[in-house]
Symmetry: C3
Subunit: 458 residues, 3 copies
């Protein structure tokens, strides 16, 4: 475990920079939370008084009980789902699950602030008032950053990932504000704001950080039997809790109910078609774990923006059907093409699981919104589901569809431009990133107890 | 990884058959969902109107909030629980978790239709109206099929498993209709309809598919250290969420509450007695992982049909006590006997975990139902718990007990006869099943990256 | 796998003692449950009548719906969280997860009785009436015992652990009664009653059982790559569900809501500072998995007693900030010191994760309680949150703070004195504990299928 494992042309020592970044940012969080963050009326001890003044008769009406079970599922998806999905590399599992832990734990604090300023500011006091929905949104925001991590996995230092998180959360909060508040798009499960943005953000960074000699680490850029099984833990918890993800901040009642059903159905179809294409494109019909781990989830990504809509069960099935196919094809053919011809190294294939299905999900939601009618939704239902209230009372379904499409483009632009800028920042030679022959190797940033057998590392 | 690993007497190439089956069936799903499946009134955008016309004052009364947390637990049990429980084989973990994923994702779609026609059909429109309870029931139905998979694990092709699923779901829906609707049995946790049926269905198929030369794959029919740990993930999530399984579709209020308590207690007792018997029957008192992974769950299986009843906490404890013992004895002595003398090869020992405890659970529920009285349940409670309403208002507790026993027998007959027929279909030489010396080996149906060390596969 | 692996100076055969203990205790449970345990009014079939007589209009008001989702999260923490967290040892993963399973499954039954006698006894009938809150408290109690197991991991027999559980649960129920009922402390997340007690209980036992020659098993007292990943499953499920742990038995409404938010925030800060200190104290800034697996959780432990209080989000952040630092320093410097100079062998480092952060959490709650005021809490909120009702209506916030500190000391004393006594009992030479050169080895108590490669065990 001596120097022999480390090439000398890059300094990967993060003993000063990583603790420095962690402490500076965490202290900033303490100060900013102290100035800005308080409990909202449902989490504050004044809730008893609030209930009386608002004629609420039971604690069960506290939003906590509507959303907490979904929040916990989302929480598992972010840390266990994303974390373990990325453990598939044979020698980068510590980095996958450990850096996910760090990125998301830091990111959610910054997200509470950034999203709070945009969405939960009490203008009379200047305070951000947080409740369960803020926690869900902070987790969502970290999801966007972790998608980007998928493209960079194994090629960046933890310090770089802290930078990616800081800027990623900031950009996310802005694009989210533009898409959800200014354009007034509906995007309960984040096809646009999470997947499209996160996907293109990661791809743009990865494109800027292109490593021509990455094949020096080729022997580590793959899985072993048990690392593929650990990854399946991630896949399954993502797949299972995706109905909660898409319904977590949907409208109370039928909104959450319908979002869960649509996502459940769409995901089921993705599995079947992903298996079909995987088998069809491999020798002797053998299945490829990469496809099973990833493309099976495409239906959940694409259903994000339409989950609350009356897309109907067969509509959900069709979305999952095609996205399972498109995503598997992407892993099989598009990713190798992008790497060869566009110099885009995408470790986890987020192009095929997040960027493209997310974008498709945005456009699908445009179509579904444009087709919405009072006969299908009821008058009241249409207003509630498309949010055509207040300033937007005069917006028709067709117009809403146009805005859904526009929102998707905004997410893409934010991802690409923001990612390119962050990528350039990360090119500075101060972040401790690994050399080309040290990529995908936990030993660079982790104390690893090596098993030697007959002189070979195992 | 060349041809040397494959014997030439069987063609395991599924490159045409697997994609063909997946696409044909998935397209059929799209068409049938298009014709039949719609949202029910609690998931439809008309919910706002429905609330008004039915004097419902809060969204919290939407069945989603009563059942969604339990649904998510059941969902985890089906995919993570069953999937990982079966990863114990040293070289069939991809197949265990991957085929579970495929089977259940396809099966739940077909179950939504089959169960929908029997239980959720709106006769005025001819549409199946689905809500959260349908999703739970679809997952339950897949549970039955996955139990059968446990007996067949490692010996069948994915195409065969798709056939097992198609017929299994169909048979399940019919026996469920007979048991729950025609016989009007109570079976909230599915001792009869899930475990007894699924257990005997799998055993019958396995009996028909008996392989006299299976010992050619003997070296792969066992666990290694880490595969046993992966299996414990499955065991624990099954054990932990079983209270949700047995209470998921129980009556609102005390029904769900009591079902969860009974199952929690019964499972705890199973663990202690399974450990005791395991230690007692092994050299030096050492514990066997097979028993810990399986027999600890027997109390949950057996409590399925009685979970809602006033069996009382010590009653639950007694059920778990004996089922932990019986199941462990089954793994230790009965399974080897069945294999040797009845030519029944049961990879996961579902005979001991599902078939027998499920059947016992059915008969236990008969006794508990027959002993029910108004003094214990209250008048209203007895009617609600035993379902003695409408056409069944005149049925006494004793009669209900008789029907519970009859229902158990129906489940057994459906499992055995249905399994025998499906087994014969699977004997056709077109399904790509593995040769006797290729069983329990992921390389037949999966792209596996092999680690070679000193020329030996590892 | 023959005798060569076992030293002859200790008899580790538990073939009589383990089954005997299991059966005797389980039969005792059946008898005691038969005499004492019944359903409470929310789980009993009389709930329908109860609703009417208490003017409850909806089943949703059943406490089941307020607490069941949190209960399931706690349940996962106890069995998967604790169980897998301790799998980090290279050759004791079966023992970690298997004995956790046994201990908790037995312990929860005894806890239902012990805690029932103190808290849920219906004096008119002499029956313990249980509901969902009793299940949560029983799981909590097992948590305390499992913390103690962390100190003893690999050095005791399963029979010894059954003794530790029996006495641990008993002591827990008594100290809990003193702290929560007699001193009337507030401790929703159990900083005092669970972590402080459990931590010092385990440390005291381990101190009594000091093994001077434990370094004979040194080669097994460490992790390998995949065992560290299994441990991360435990870490993450503990970390993710800790908000449910601390809010599970908090007050309905704002109490549960606030407890979840505070814990979520505190834990996030712990991750960032634990990473910082870990990197700062290792060569080249490399992270140590031991710190990531453990110290990241310290914020949840320390927030236990204050979770319900209006500590405010930045207060939570500060608690997590410092506890992440203190805990990581503990693992790095204090544990080696304790082992060398105080003869305290603490396998999992519970001193740093439970004992110290738990004690700090108790004292933090004293300060926060003492500073509570009506302007921050509202009059009604102060009464509800500090429980200043009935006999305690005249107790001021400052006095309550004093009692919180006193409660912490009671927990510590119970842990140390109780643990010392139990440790002496465990020194009797009848329990089948392993010899010094057989510690941390699953083969002593488990049937392990060994992989031999070139004559070396692997």
């Amino acid at each position: 475990m001596g120097n022999c494992f480390f090439s000398q042309d890059k300094n990967t020592n993060v003993r000063v920079s990583l603790p420095a970044v962690c402490f500076v940012w965490e202290i900033a969080m303490v100060v900013l939370f102290g100035i800005f963050v308080r409990y909202n009326e449902e989490a504050d001890a004044h809730w008893g008084e609030y209930k009386k003044t608002h004629n609420i008769t039971t604690d069960m009406e506290n939003d906590f009980y509507y959303r907490y079970p979904s929040f916990q599922d989302v929480h598992v998806m972010i840390f266990v789902g994303f974390g373990f999905l990325m453990t598939f590399l044979k020698r980068y599992s510590f980095g996958a699950v450990g850096f996910t832990f760090l990125i998301a734990a830091f990111g959610l604090q910054w997200a509470l602030l950034m999203q709070g300023w945009f969405h939960s500011l009490d203008y009379s006091t200047g305070k951000i008032l947080i409740g369960i929905e803020n926690l869900i949104n902070a987790d969502f925001c970290c999801g966007g950053v972790l998608i980007a991590f998928g493209a960079l996995l194994g090629k960046v230092s933890p310090v770089q990932m802290m930078v990616v998180s800081l800027f990623g959360v900031t950009l996310y909060a802005v694009e989210e504000y533009i898409i959800l508040n200014l354009l007034h798009c509906r995007d309960a499960g984040g096809s646009m704001v999470i997947h499209t943005f996160g996907g293109y953000y990661g791809l743009a960074i990865s494109w800027i950080l292109y490593r021509p000699n990455l094949n020096k680490s080729k022997h580590l850029n793959g899985s072993v039997y048990h690392s593929d099984l650990f990854a399946m833990i991630g896949t399954l918890f993502l797949w299972l809790f995706w109905p909660s993800f898409n319904s977590a901040i949907a409208n109370h009642g039928d909104g959450q109910h319908r979002a869960a059903i649509n996502t459940y159905i769409s995901l089921a179809a993705s599995v079947v078609t992903a298996v079909a294409i995987s088998s069809m494109t491999e020798k002797r019909g053998r299945l490829d774990m990469v496809h099973i781990q990833n493309a099976t989830l495409a239906g959940g990504v694409a259903m994000g923006a339409s989950a609350e809509f009356m897309i109907s069960p067969y509509g959900s099935l069709i979305v999952g059907f095609f996205c399972g196919i498109i995503s598997t094809f992407g892993f099989k053919f598009v990713s190798p093409f992008l790497e060869k011809h566009l110099k885009l190294q995408d470790t986890c294939g987020i192009h095929n699981l997040h960027a493209v299905p997310g974008m498709l999900g945005g456009f699908i939601s445009a179509i579904v919104a444009a087709m919405a009618s009072e006969s299908v939704y009821s008058k009241e239902g249409l207003i509630a589901t498309l949010g055509l209230e207040g300033n937007y009372a005069n917006r028709g379904a067709g117009t809403q569809g146009g805005y859904q499409a526009a929102g998707t483009c905004v997410a893409m632009v934010f991802g690409i431009v923001g990612g390119a800028i962050v990528g350039l920042i990360l090119k500075l030679p101060i972040w401790g990133d690994p050399a080309d022959d040290n990529c995908f190797d936990d030993e660079v940033y982790w104390e690893v107890r090596i098993c030697l057998m007959n002189g070979k590392r195992f």
